[in-house]
Subunit: 254 residues, 2 copies
């Protein structure tokens, strides 16, 4: 009955050593051949055991060097439904600055024609011109979030804010930029899903393909007309981020 296979027993053994603090973060773990000899199985068994711990984010492998205990940083909470005060920028930025980290981003804008999916989300016809901006948000130089944003040129085309990151009003966030051209946007509608990173996303985030990500589909609406004015795909590493929605009531609040 209770014949747990060797590779699971080895994984359990190693997990216990790590969680009990027997081995510290960054420390090297036994090599495949050492484990194989210690337990009396072939290398494949030990390797599969390590595979489990890697999936659990407890261990990181460095080819040619060995297996090492992964430093366990608790996932950070990203408050998404807080009204952003003017000039603060995006939720990630707010959070990173709070944590005393260096927040920066790379971006690239280009005009394009809306594909079927984006057109549907923006309430326009497929093929209509949009401005597409691709962001990589960095924390202390490490990529932590991907954002792909689309804005219909029918909304921003004749204004100074056509390009999100350029001009006198560059880089101040969707709400503030829209305010410049007299459009008031409310809190965005966000659709959150969980999936595995695509090959491209994994590369841009510098993680292994197949890593679990939180994918957020965000849309800002013009508050008075109800028309969509911006939509974005946001990709966050699942093991590092938690998205928070809703506001905890204050004791004395109405």
């Amino acid at each position: 009955m209770t014949d747990t296979p060797p590779y699971l027993r080895i994984a359990d053994e190693l997990r216990a050593r790590i969680l009990d603090g027997g081995v510290v973060a960054g420390e090297r773990l036994p090599s495949i051949s050492e484990l194989a000899e210690e337990f009396g199985y072939s290398g494949g068994v030990a390797q599969r055991a390590y595979g489990i711990l890697i999936e659990e984010n407890l261990v990181v492998a460095r080819p040619g060097a060995g297996y090492f205990v992964q430093s366990q940083e608790a996932p950070q909470v990203l408050v998404r439904h807080q009204r952003v005060r003017p000039g603060q920028g995006s939720p990630v930025r707010v959070m990173l600055v709070e944590q005393g980290m260096d927040a920066s981003r790379r971006s690239e804008s280009a005009t394009a024609r809306a594909d079927a999916v984006v057109a549907e989300r923006l309430g326009i016809a497929a093929g209509e011109p949009v401005v597409h901006t691709a962001y990589v948000h960095l924390a202390d130089g490490v990529p932590v979030q991907l954002t792909d944003s689309w804005e219909p040129m029918a909304v921003t085309g004749n204004s100074l804010i056509v390009l999100p990151e350029a001009g006198p009003h560059g880089g101040i966030g969707v709400a503030d930029r829209m305010a410049v051209i007299g459009i008031e946007v409310g809190l965005p509608v966000e659709r959150v899903s969980a999936r595995q990173a695509t090959r491209q996303e994994a590369q841009r985030l510098a993680v292994q393909p197949g890593a679990v990500v939180l994918a957020v589909e965000r849309t800002h609406y013009d508050r008075s007309t109800g028309r969509p004015v911006e939509t974005a795909d946001i990709v966050l590493l699942g093991s590092r981020w938690i998205a928070e929605y809703g506001i905890r009531p204050e004791p004395g609040a109405p």
Copy 2:
């Protein structure tokens, strides 16, 4: 250069057959031994190819029967920040009923002592008594959502609503039940993360371990005191559900 390994070539071949519509949803695909013979490799190769297509949700395996083309249902949007009208029940239930599906659930309640995590979320001391309820939500008999809910007995202990699913006020949802004892709760705070299903969760959801899930940590607060009155862990299958937050402004709204 372009020596893609056999198991990938076979997967590509099968994927093409499926996406081109050569095989219809529900139809049976070649068995492992058939593929092995057709391509001239051992069974393991064909099996690994199928493993890829299963991860992509294109194929489903039925032991003893064969591999079948999975019907592609688009993930459903679960609106979570809509104020639930009294008597409607949980967001999943609302959604399933809208879709004309049969919504049911199994539940099991028990008193327990709060562990450190739950205590932290409920703002009580670890070890204090709570009522723990484990739900499995079913759509047409298929499990679609797991919910583990905890309520401090300090809040509900002396009332008729101690057990969420029993008594005169059983099964009507957190907000309505709390209203019975004079507690008004606002919209819950929800923390959303993406990860892989644990072994237990995979079993309860009847999916393969390692499936990607959306994990929601929900907490209801007493609106007047700000005190947590209920917290829950909600697990949804990532490939089937999208959680929506925020409300799209109406054209004529203030």
